[in-house]
Symmetry: C2
C-alpha cells in the first residue's frame, strides 16, 4: 500500500481539500498538496455557455487543476479533482454566504440531487487517466427551525463544500438516503484512484 | 440537530466502538458510552447452533448489549449495535491474532462478502426500535506481499474490526468495490438511526 522503491516522489494533489488529502494519506499514500489557482466560476460559466454537461464540467475543472500544477512540476505525477452538485440539470456552486447556503438547502430539501467527483491524473505534462464517480442523495423535508440551527452550527463548512454540507458531520442530519459511491460524496472516487495507482506501480498490488 | 429541551439526558451507547460514538457525536448527538459486557462468542455459537440466520445474530447481539445497559439505567434511552461479516453464509468473527486475520483475508480475497450492522434501541427496559443495514464489499485479488505489508501496517486495528479492516484507513487498499450503506460499513446505519431519533423528539425535525 506504499510507494514502491523505484518511485520515491510523492504524488502531487492539485486540490486544497483536506478531505481529499486525508483520504489518500489514510490509504497509505505519500501526498504533497499544491492547490491550483484557477478561476473556477469563470471556467464553469464558460463551459455551461457552451452547453457542456454537468459531469463534463467536473472533469474539465479537475483536468485544469491537474494541468496547472503539472506545468509547474513536469517530472511529477499530479492528481486533480473536482466535485459538482447537480439538481435538475443545474450546477450548484459552493455557497458564498449563509443566505446563499440557506437558499440552496431550501431548494434541495425533500428532493434528490447528484454529486459527481471527477479526478484526472497528469504524468509528464499529459493527462493519462480520468474517472468520474457518482452518488445520489435524498434530503429529508426538514423544518425551517432545523435549517436555522443547522446553518448556525455548521459555520465555515457551509462555504467549503458544494451544497453546504459534509455528510461526515452535521450534514448527516439533512439526509434520508444516500446511494452510490460514498467516496465520491467525500470528494474523491478513492477505490478507482487506488486501482489506477496500482497499475502504475505506485501502490503495492 | 440537538436534543430538544425536554430531553436533557444523553443517549446511552451500549458499545465500545469509538467509530460509532464519533458517528453519533459528529451528527450532533449527546452520547454517553456504556459498553455492555456480554460473551459474544458464546451467544453467537448458541444462536448458530439453533440455525439462526446471520443477520438475526447481529440483531440478537445488538439487542443483548442494549438490554444489558438498559437494565442498569432503566430511565434512559439505550442504543445497542452489532456488526457481522458474512461470507458464503458463514459469520467471520473479529480476528484474535495476525495469523487469523491473514487466514480470513486470504479467504475473502477476490470475493464479495456482506456486512450487516444491526441497531436496537431500548426505552424503559423494552426494545422499541430495531434496524439492520447492509453493504456488499468486493475484495481485489491482492498479492501475498501486499497482504504481509497490510498486516504489518494495520496493527491493532486488525483485532477491533470484523474482517480485520477499516475502510476509512488502509482497508481501502483491499477493495475493488463497495455497494450499499456506507454507514453500515462503519458499524452503524446512521441515517435510519437519526430518522428514528427525530420521531422521538431527540433530534430536531
Amino acid at each position: 500500500m506504499h510507494r514502491s522503491s523505484v518511485l520515491t516522489l510523492a504524488l502531487l494533489l492539485a486540490s486544497q481539500s483536506t478531505t481529499r488529502r486525508d483520504l489518500l494519506q489514510n490509504a497509505g499514500l505519500d501526498i504533497e498538496c499544491h492547490p491550483a489557482r484557477i478561476d473556477e466560476a469563470a471556467i464553469k460559466a464558460s463551459l455551461l455557455a457552451q452547453n457542456a454537461l454537468p459531469r463534463d464540467v467536473a472533469d474539465a475543472l479537475a483536468d485544469m487543476k491537474a494541468r496547472r500544477v503539472a506545468n509547474k512540476f513536469p517530472d511529477r505525477m499530479v492528481l486533480g479533482a473536482d466535485q459538482i452538485l447537480v439538481y435538475k440539470g443545474k450546477i450548484f456552486d459552493k455557497p458564498n454566504s449563509v443566505e446563499e447556503a440557506k437558499t440552496q438547502l431550501k431548494t434541495l430539501r425533500g428532493q434528490s440531487h447528484l454529486l459527481f467527483s471527477a479526478v484526472v491524473v497528469y504524468e509528464k505534462g499529459i493527462p493519462i487517466w480520468r474517472h468520474i464517480g457518482r452518488a445520489e442523495l435524498t434530503m429529508r423535508d426538514f423544518s425551517p427551525s432545523f435549517l436555522d440551527t443547522y446553518l448556525a452550527k455548521t459555520g465555515h463548512d457551509l462555504f467549503t463544500t458544494v451544497g453546504g454540507y459534509k455528510l461526515e458531520s452535521l450534514g448527516s442530519q439533512l439526509f434520508l438516503s444516500v446511494k452510490g459511491d460514498y467516496f465520491s460524496i467525500l470528494g474523491l472516487p478513492l477505490l478507482e484512484v487506488l486501482e489506477f495507482l496500482r497499475g502504475k506501480g505506485i501502490c503495492q498490488t
